[in-house]
């Protein structure tokens, strides 16, 4: 194997990086809009931020970081030509993704049962929009991971050619990264 190939940069397909950049731009603009709006309504934001379930969000943060770790292990496994391990690690990552979705859905359930919606106030508008948009990205990331996992199980990757695994991993890390910004910004920062 060409040693340059092994550590080629960026990992995965170049096209996914263009996509990742575009996605980060979307979230970046959303975060900036949140920040500027908050600056004008600090009290409102602080009041309603207190109604969010920080513990649930912390658990979710751990879930996503763990799943990212599992994805790293999956990439490492395929680099040592172990398709089976790669598949198993991806399953583990998917499980953590599912945990995230369940916890987040329970949070939504709680808010909706209190009659909160997008028109309740500006804070909830941002909270619901941002987290739901991220939620959809977790779903998309999981769809990608499922596709990669199925191909890995079928022996579609090997130590020499595993661009697909790295591509899926890169996207998943992006989903994780966005949450790592979102969590302190929306749930914690005062």
């Amino acid at each position: 194997m060409n040693p340059m190939e092994k550590n080629k940069w960026p990992p995965g397909d170049l096209v996914i990086w263009i996509f990742i950049m575009a996605e980060l731009l979307v979230f970046g603009i959303f975060f900036a809009a949140y920040a500027f709006t908050r600056a004008n309504h600090v009290e409102l934001f602080n009041t309603y931020q207190a109604t969010l379930d920080r513990n649930a969000a912390l658990l979710n943060t751990l879930a996503l970081i763990t799943s990212s770790y599992f994805v790293v292990r999956a990439v490492a496994a395929i680099k040592s030509d172990d398709s089976k391990r790669c598949f198993q690690w991806l399953l583990a990552a998917l499980f953590m993704g599912a945990v995230f979705l369940v916890i987040k859905s329970m949070e939504y359930q709680h808010h909706f049962s209190q009659g909160i919606n997008l028109s309740t106030n500006t804070f909830y508008m941002f909270y619901l929009s941002l987290t739901f948009f991220h939620f959809l990205h977790v779903v998309l990331g999981m769809v990608i991971l499922v596709a990669v996992a199925l191909k890995a199980r079928a022996g579609g990757y090997c130590a020499q050619e595993h661009t697909g695994v790295e591509t899926g991993a890169s996207y998943w890390h992006m989903v994780d990264l966005v949450w790592i910004v979102l969590f302190p910004l929306v749930y914690v920062m005062k």
Partner: protein, 464 residues
């Protein structure tokens, strides 16, 4: 041309170009009425000219998309079209229905047309762009369903490529969202809300998939770049289109009585709608630069690159200009919108259809690869004449729009609508003159189908 049934496309393209001429003529009539109010009155009132101008555009683009699909799908699926006879039959039904509708617009007062076509049974008329009598709308649904069936069956029985699947997705969306034309609630907010499901989700949603697929096809054919590379780009372009475009619909929901969060959703997501167009530009040039062959049909490549650039400018940049809610508060429904509409439709949809015609028509008329040098250079002239005049039409309308916004809505002493219209008349004149140049470009375009046809095909140096 690999399959005999691809030839169906020829009829569709001829009809498309014919209706295109009609669209431009009515555009010129209307442009004149902007400055000479009673021009051709009472024969062709302004509202009728506008209806004909916009409806013809939509119908000829649909003819173009259908023609493009009938050409593209058999070649991608590597099989003959499922039912060529059905395609011919639908062509004549669609053309007859379209022509009858336009003639009815011109010959009968609109209210009478509504009465005669029994609009009261299922009222769908009287809404911008969806003015067609209900019976015409039903006809459109039948034609589109038969078309989808034909295309779908062809894909099912043959090779399934990403290009044809993306195309099919776009065409299915086109059919599905048109159904909202039949939903006409009495609540005006709800009416407008769902009206955009046809209008916006067409042009800023599923039509972009059709555009992406056709562009990918032309690039695969003319550059010889690996299909896999082009397909990857196509994937992320359509993903980005849908992510930004669907929620981006919010930029139409700012001031129609919908909840306030739409101002945020609409602003943020629609502000990102230029991204897929920008990707498309980068990708089109990238593919041409990485080409594995020099294709002698240079003018088809020119249209492909042209559409990528002009779609980005017209849809992307000019759309962004007035998409943010605080800006749109002032610019809503002014000439800025007209400027955007003109360049976006031309750049994204007119040019891609003309590009597909440019690629496929020589093959359907018996050429091996392309037209003669003479026909091609004439067509290039038409490309530049139409494109440059469209740029100027857009610039003049933008200038008119900025002045309009300032005088009518922004200055300390806002003026009446009609007073402002008088003040910006100069730009309307300039637009009208530029429109004439566009018409000349269109005439040159049509001439390129007849001139140089007896000369040998153009050739190119092979790529070193």
């Amino acid at each position: 041309m690999k399959y005999e049934s691809q030839k169906v496309a020829k009829l569709y393209f001829i009809a498309a170009i014919g209706l295109f001429v009609g669209q431009i003529l009515f555009g010129l009539i209307m442009g004149m009425q902007y400055v000479v109010g009673d021009f051709l009155f009472p024969e062709i009132p302004f509202n009728v000219a506008r209806m004909v101008h916009t409806n013809l555009l939509i119908v000829w683009l649909l003819f173009g998309f259908m023609g493009a699909s009938y050409y593209l799908v058999p070649e991608e699926a590597e099989t003959e079209l499922f039912a060529p006879w059905l395609a011919y039959l639908m062509f004549w039904i669609f053309l007859a229905a379209g022509a009858a509708t336009v003639l009815a617009y011109l010959l009968v007062p609109y209210a009478t047309l509504a009465e005669v076509t029994m609009n009261h049974l299922l009222p769908t008329m009287g809404r911008e762009f969806l003015e067609q009598p209900t019976i015409t709308k039903i006809g459109i649904v039948i034609v589109v369903l038969a078309f989808l069936f034909n295309i779908g069956m062809t894909i099912l029985k043959g090779r399934k490529t990403v290009v044809s699947l993306v195309l099919l997705m776009g065409l299915t969306g086109l059919a599905v969202f048109f159904l909202f034309a039949f939903y006409n609630p009495t609540n005006l907010v709800m009416d407008k809300y769902y009206w955009w499901w046809v209008v916006h989700l067409w042009v800023e949603g599923v039509w972009e998939l059709i555009l992406g697929a056709i562009l990918a096809f032309i690039l695969i054919k003319t550059t010889g770049v690996d299909r896999e590379v082009i397909e990857k780009w196509l994937y992320i372009i359509i993903a980005m289109t849908l992510i930004t475009g669907i929620v981006g619909m919010g930029h139409h929901y700012y001031w129609i009585g919908t909840p306030e969060f739409w101002q945020w959703w609409g602003s943020i997501f629609s502000a990102l709608e230029p991204i897929p167009f920008f990707m498309m530009t980068v990708y089109a040039f990238n593919m041409v630069n990485r080409r594995r062959r020099n294709h002698p049909n240079k003018v088809a490549v020119l249209w492909a690159l042209g559409t990528a650039v002009m779609a980005f400018l017209g849809a992307g940049v000019w759309g962004f200009l007035h998409t943010l809610a605080p800006v749109n508060y002032y610019t809503h429904g002014t000439q800025i919108t007209a400027a955007h509409g003109h360049m976006a439709f031309y750049g994204a949809y007119v040019m891609i259809v003309l590009g597909m015609i440019s690629y496929s028509m020589p093959l359907m008329r018996g050429r091996e690869l392309c037209n003669s040098v003479r026909s091609q250079s004439l067509e290039m002239w038409s490309f530049w004449l139409m494109t440059i005049s469209m740029v100027f039409i857009t610039l003049f309308l933008t200038a008119a729009g900025i002045l309009q916004v300032y005088l009518q809505r922004f200055s300390d002493n806002p003026m009446d609508f009609m007073v402002v219209q008088d003040k910006i008349a100069l730009f309307y004149w300039l637009r009208e003159i530029t429109g004439l140049i566009f018409l000349i470009g269109l005439i040159v375009y049509i001439a390129s189908f007849f001139i140089g046809q007896d000369e040998p095909e153009a050739t190119v140096e092979p790529l070193k």
